[in-house]
């Protein structure tokens, strides 16, 4: 537990020392989502309709931007080997890295979402649902993404390969996340969407840290 907290703190500290990498991903999210209202114009009915999809796709892509960094830096300087050789469970250390990634690349998206949503003329209820889906969905993105980051460790051109591996896995999150926001805007029941997102989250939480830890160990060997 102590080692888990240390890893989270260490990764956050490293991000604080090198802010540009994280700010790039967040700036990307803001820019991409702002381009749509600018390009489409002031057709608020259309904007309201495309908002959930656009915001969710932008969230997927900006999460991808930060993923490559998750293990690559530690792999390059040899720290990852030291983590494998720690007497603490390596899975918990990998989980720590996933949590740190979410705090840096996922949580800010949740907090930015209402501001972005205003550009699309979303009402308060839709904004709340959007934030809630992102809060439940972005951890799944970080978890699933860690598998891709681990599998492409040390592979040349790994980031492109990782996108190809991971984006298909993101599809269910995208469908239920964006679907919930759309359903709420037309007054449909959204509890089903949330149940499925929650199920995805719990499933990923239960299996992904082990899968990623194993993938990293194979990459190191």
């Amino acid at each position: 537990m102590n080692a888990f907290i240390t890893i989270v703190e260490r990764d956050l500290l490293l991000v604080m020392r090198r802010k540009s990498e994280v700010l790039t991903a967040l700036f990307f999210f803001v820019i991409v989502t702002s381009l749509f209202p600018l390009g489409i114009g002031a057709d608020s009915a259309l904007l309201r309709k495309i908002a959930p999809g656009v915001i969710w796709v932008a969230a997927l892509l900006s999460t991808l931007l930060g993923l490559q960094r998750m293990f690559a830096a530690d792999y390059a300087d040899g720290t990852l080997e030291q983590l494998v050789l720690s007497p603490n469970s390596f899975t918990s250390l990998v989980f720590g890295k996933i949590v740190a990634h979410w705090l840096v690349c996922g949580l800010p998206l949740v907090l930015l979402a209402p501001v972005i949503g205003i550009q699309f003329d979303l009402n308060a209820e839709s904004l709340r649902v959007l934030m809630a889906t992102l809060l439940l969905g972005t951890p799944v993105l970080s978890l699933l993404g860690s598998i891709g980051a681990a599998l492409t460790l040390g592979v040349r051109g790994g980031s492109v390969l990782m996108s190809l591996l991971i984006l298909p896995l993101y599809i269910p999150v995208l469908i239920f996340g964006a679907g919930a926001v759309y359903a709420s805007s037309v007054g449909l029941d959204i509890s089903g969407h949330f149940s499925l997102l929650g199920a995805l989250f719990i499933l990923a939480l239960a299996f992904v840290p082990w899968v990623s830890a194993t993938a990293v160990k194979i990459a190191i060997e």
């Binding site: 490293l14 020392r17 720690s86």
Partner: protein, 215 residues
Amino acid sequence: MTAINSSIPQSTAPILEARAITCVRGERELFSRLDVQVSPGECLHVRGENGVGKTSLLRLLTGLASPESGDVLWNGTPIKKDSSEYHSKLLFLGHRDALKEDLTALENLRMYAAIDGIKLADVEAFSTLWRFGLKGREDLPVNCLSAGQKKRVLMARMLTRRAQVWILDEPFNALDAQAVQELQSLIAQHLEGNGLVVLTSHQPLEISNLRVLDL
């Protein structure tokens, strides 16, 4: 199982042992059916030409890689079976220095202490860094240190880690003459305290209780 283990006399049993290990990298077999034994207070110096498999052997002994066949045993138990027990006694320093460049020397030491599950008081961390000539540089990010100074941070880690087994890959690279002496005395001190050392190096070593393994 316990009966078999307890029947091995602990005092004479080699603590770190590799039995008939075979290492294959890609298509090439680097070595086959190699036996290695290291007892407490003993230093094993692995020598050989470049590419002969020194680093691969060291990685097999740490458990980072698995041998094609054969076993690596710690106190008679395969290290795969109880890796956390073995890793709590193990310090491995590889080619890369495994220090976070953006963190200070002190933060690196603290981080490794927490990850390795040891308690490290600030007083001890400071005094160890000072001992290796890093006084006044504790709060500099590691990327501001020279290659030799980074090695000195690693020496501080070796001391604070309090591990019984040291596996060191080319520990004398990038060290000046004085630091080489310091590291040798650090290793000698470790051996006196019943530690085990396995290392690779291209230079002759002045360490008592040294055994050479030519690959």
